[in-house]
């Protein structure tokens, strides 16, 4: 077990949970995310999403004004009006997420009540759920956890045996994983969140679930409360983690070892081949992961064990020991894992260690590049299809490319 676990507190530099709307709205195109917040919230999602992938957004902000802050009854009515206008303008919407923010939480605007009222008045045409993505409660990827946890009560109850993959995956990756599970003999494999918000999987005592993402603690707890059983495994990043993750499910299904091996061995061999050129570039290079996406531990494990990188420090916004247990076991015992952040002190350590590569948020990347340190945006890792054995090479490429680039540039 790790001996070098530290906690740090101070100014942080991480996105708030609203940011996950950026990928959730793409996963479920029949849903709309209505943030109830301030101009800052609107500006945040626009800046986090807009600069990267501007699209006709399926998210928006109901901006609180002075009038709303004055009397709360008024705010509930206003929210009704905004929601109705929106649904009228966007009749294709089937699920409306009311997303709480810092301001709405501080003024204690009751979004659950609003959701209930809207549900009653829309009588099933649109389903309204609420969760919080506020920066005083959640960081970055935790927003997805909140959104999914809010959907769990709407899932139909069914006890049939099924494997449930929990967490947003790229479509192609999802298809591939399902094919592979079925090839091993797991007949029913479903995903949550679904590709359409109206196409929610059932849940019940026959459900066994694998978490595709490590930040889904509330969702997994809610699903367990509905009868689902959590299969413990490392996360499906890298060939090794993905294999252990798939094997865990296969074993839970009692599938014979030879079948598991016959299915996964060729994949592992192929992944080794795909990884090799990247491993050669990454081997022995030193990496520093700043806390952001909550994928830091699984990534560190992959980068160390499969790419041969040296881990200078692994930051994580918070450490959910239970969900990270299998990952922690695979990290070298002396890995410095730092939970929380004091961004200035952490950057001091980055400068002191001068690693070859830093994984960080978008605000920090260019300043570090200017100091001669190659970086990788952590947000890219939540957007890219990186899960599964077949993606291990692509995942490694995301880290080797900045190094290749640094090597490629020469100015006389």
């Amino acid at each position: 077990m790790l001996t070098n676990l530290l906690k740090e507190s101070g100014p942080r530099e991480v996105f708030c949970g609203l940011t996950s709307i950026v990928w959730l709205h793409r996963r479920m195109p029949d849903a709309f995310f209505l943030v109830v917040g301030s101009r800052t919230c609107a500006h945040l999602i626009q800046s986090a999403a807009g600069v990267m992938i501007f699209a006709e957004p399926r998210f928006g902000t109901a901006i609180l004004s002075e009038r709303d802050l004055a009397g709360l009854a008024d705010a509930q009515e206003e929210l009704d009006r905004v929601a109705r206008d929106l649904l009228q303008r966007r009749p294709e919407i089937r699920t409306l997420f009311l997303v709480g923010s810092c301001p709405s939480e501080v003024i204690k605007l009751d979004l659950a009540r609003a959701a209930e009222r809207l549900n009653a008045s829309l009588s099933g045409r649109v389903r309204v759920v609420n969760y919080s993505g506020s920066g005083i409660e959640t960081t970055f990827t935790q927003g997805e956890d909140g959104a999914l946890a809010a959907l769990v009560p709407t899932l139909p109850a069914r006890d049939e045996p099924q494997l449930l993959l929990v967490g947003t995956l790229a479509h192609a990756v999802e298809d591939r994983l399902i094919t592979l599970f079925q090839r091993m003999g797991i007949a029913t494999v479903r995903s949550f969140p679904p590709r359409l918000s109206t196409d929610c999987p059932p849940v019940g005592r026959g459900t066994r679930m694998l978490l595709c993402q490590p930040y889904l603690s509330d969702t997994s707890r809610e699903l367990q409360a509905r009868g689902a059983e959590l299969i413990r495994a490392p996360y499906p990043l890298g060939a090794e983690g993905s294999r252990l993750w798939m094997e865990a499910a296969a074993r839970a299904w009692g599938i014979d070892e030879p079948i598991i091996r016959a299915t996964l061995d060729p994949l592992s061999a192929r992944a080794r081949q795909a990884l090799e050129p990247h491993r050669q570039r990454l081997q022995g290079k030193r990496i520093f992961l700043l806390p952001d996406s909550q994928l830091e531990l699984p990534l560190a494990r992959f980068l160390h064990r499969e790419c041969g990188m040296a881990l200078v420090e692994v930051g994580t916004p918070y450490l959910h020991r239970d969900l990270m247990e299998e990952e922690l076991k695979l990290l070298p015992a002396d890995t410095r894992v730092v939970e929380g952040q004091h961004v200035e002190q952490q950057l001091d350590r980055v400068r002191q260690a001068h690693p070859d590569l830093v994984v960080c948020g978008m605000g920090l990347a260019n300043p570090l590049e200017a100091e001669g340190i190659a970086t990788k945006w952590s947000i890219e890792l939540v957007f890219s299809p990186i899960h599964g054995i077949d993606q291990a090479g692509d995942l490694a490429e995301l880290f080797s490319r900045p190094l290749v680039r640094h090597g490629a540039l020469a100015f006389a």
Binding site: T19, A42, L64, E105, E344
Partner: protein, 532 residues
């Protein structure tokens, strides 16, 4: 409560950050939750700055709310001062902190710090980014200068003559995240130098506290970016008697007027009115026969106040366009924009709802849109060419090359960037002449790839042939290769823009392996094989 899908301006504290980040030696402590740190990326990514903005966020969390957030503020102030040793400190709060009413400014002021501390009130629920920038600049300048008793209440902008020196002015308002401010400052410096006028201080861009302290030494102020500079210029006029210019020098006419205005403020002889013809290409290019086709082109204009006003004047008077829509999201500038619109026989669109801008745009059916990044998106949807003239901006609005909007060179840049999205006159003419030739069967898409009509250039290789259509085995050179259903299905999942390449690679790989059937496994094998 207002529904916003996209906003033209950030909250007022982002405006304050723009001032702090523009300057050297000014640090900003912002009482805000962790998510508000996103604002850093505006500077480090959109402006591609090589350092973080000088902002310390308190990043309080819900669990802090039950405790002592005031202590948290003080701790961050102390740490920031120790670590960054600024020459002046700004203290403010974001929307959430405003609700918990810690009054960080007062807290910091009570800490006995040995540096100027400016406390900012940034009402996030009623004001926006430009207002925040203007207010911050004004508070900072006032905070640093108000103790100076004006030497004499009768400031003489012509004192330079008596003192036997060159006249000097301050350039006020250019900031980070302002549209092309960096280049505009250079251009205006050049322009003034050519007229023997010295620049005393530029504030806030690249200014230090000492530059602010030197402001009173100037004979007059140039209010370069009214959205940011006006309250500051007004105060300097009230407190020190420094007059300031009202004209924003964007375009030929405005630059000429600006020079006239400044010369008269400083008691200089009026400049040669023919200077524009000599210094800028716009007047001649606009008069050249190739520009005949621009006559009456219908343009729709929307942006911040100054740029929208400037664009309207240039469009109508200097390029011979017909303005069919004019509006701004800057409510502070609503009045002059309304007046300008009225003169054009239009009703100004004053709104920050981009959807209503899009609707007005669709309604006006212009041939060219001059707008913000948002109008660029809307125009693209409507199939109308567009040039970006105003914030909010995208990384592409911070070009590597020199591209001012102001002064003579600015006019050149404007000519190019507005006219290029349109078909050039000669081109339009030739296409008209050869309309019946077989090459011109469709309505011509020209270089406007986004106009939506079919791309006439035939894809040369097989690269793009698979885009969206069924892979056609008969089209392969080697007919014996066969994609299985499963392989085809897998192939279709690959984004269209790389699908052609993947297909080719996979087939090549299959041939090497002596395989005749390509299934999903072959595809993955090939992927691994080529993955280097």
């Amino acid at each position: 409560m207002d529904l916003t899908l996209w906003t033209y301006e950030g909250p007022p504290h982002v405006g304050a950050m723009r001032i702090a980040a523009s300057m050297e030696g000014v640090h900003f402590v912002l009482h805000a939750p962790q998510g508000d740190t996103y604002a850093d990326l505006l500077f480090t990514m959109i402006e591609r700055r090589d350092r973080r903005p000088p902002v310390t966020y308190t990043t309080f969390q819900a669990r802090d709310l039950s405790g002592d957030t005031a202590e948290l503020v003080k701790r961050h102030v102390r740490e920031a001062v120790d670590r960054f040793q600024p020459d002046a400190l700004l203290v403010g709060e974001s929307c959430t902190a405003e609700l918990i009413q810690d009054q960080p400014g007062a807290l910091a002021a009570g800490m006995g710090l040995e540096l100027p501390v400016v406390s900012l009130e940034l009402p996030a629920y009623s004001k926006k980014e430009n207002w925040g920038a203007a207010e911050t600049l004004y508070q900072l300048v006032r905070g640093l200068l108000q103790h100076l008793r004006p030497g004499s209440t009768d400031h003489d902008p012509c004192a330079w003559r008596r003192q036997e020196r060159r006249p000097r002015v301050n350039l006020i308002g250019p900031s980070l995240l302002g549209f092309r401010c960096r280049d505009d400052v250079l251009e205006i410096r050049r322009l003034l130098e050519a007229h023997g006028i010295e620049v005393n201080a530029v504030v806030p861009l690249a200014a230090r506290v000492t530059d602010v302290e030197r402001l009173p030494l100037a004979d007059a102020n140039v209010c370069l970016v009214p959205e940011v500079a006006e309250p500051c210029c007004t105060w300097l006029e009230r407190h020190f008697g420094q007059p300031f210019t009202r004209t924003v020098p964007i375009g030929i006419g405005a630059t000429t007027d600006f020079l006239k205005e400044l010369h008269s403020l400083l008691g200089l002889e009026a400049p040669d009115p023919r200077e524009a013809q000599r210094q800028s290409r716009l007047p001649w290019y606009a008069a050249s026969v190739d520009s005949t086709y621009l006559t009456g082109k219908r343009v729709f204009i929307f942006g911040d106040g100054s740029h929208a006003l400037a664009a309207a004047r240039i469009a109508q008077q200097e390029l011979g366009f017909t303005v069919v829509g004019l509006g701004t999201y800057s409510r502070e500038m609503a009045r002059p924009v309304r007046a300008a619109a009225r003169e054009l026989g239009l009703e100004a669109l004053i709104t920050d709802d981009y959807l209503s801008v899009e609707a007005a745009m669709a309604d006006a059916a212009p041939e060219l849109v001059l707008g913000t990044q948002m109008e660029r998106h809307s125009a693209k949807r409507l199939g109308i060419p567009c040039a970006v003239i105003s914030t909010p901006m995208h990384v592409q609005d911070v070009p590597a090359r020199y591209a001012p909007q102001m002064g003579w060179e600015g006019a050149n840049v404007i000519f190019d960037s507005w006219v290029h999205p349109l078909m050039m006159g000669l081109e339009e003419h030739l296409i008209g002449m050869f309309r019946h030739d077989f090459e011109f069967v469709d309505d011509q898409p020209s270089h406007l790839g986004h106009l939506g009509s079919a791309d006439t250039a035939k894809p040369s290789g097989s690269d793009f042939d698979a885009a969206g259509s069924e892979p056609d085995p008969a089209a392969n050179l080697n007919v014996e290769l066969q994609w299985t259903r499963d392989g085809e299905a897998e192939l279709k999942k690959i984004p269209f823009f790389v699908r052609g390449k993947v297909k080719r690679n996979t087939e090549c790989f299959a041939r090497q392996q002596g395989k005749y059937q390509i299934d999903s496994e072959t595809l993955y094998d090939a992927k691994a094989h080529f993955n280097t």
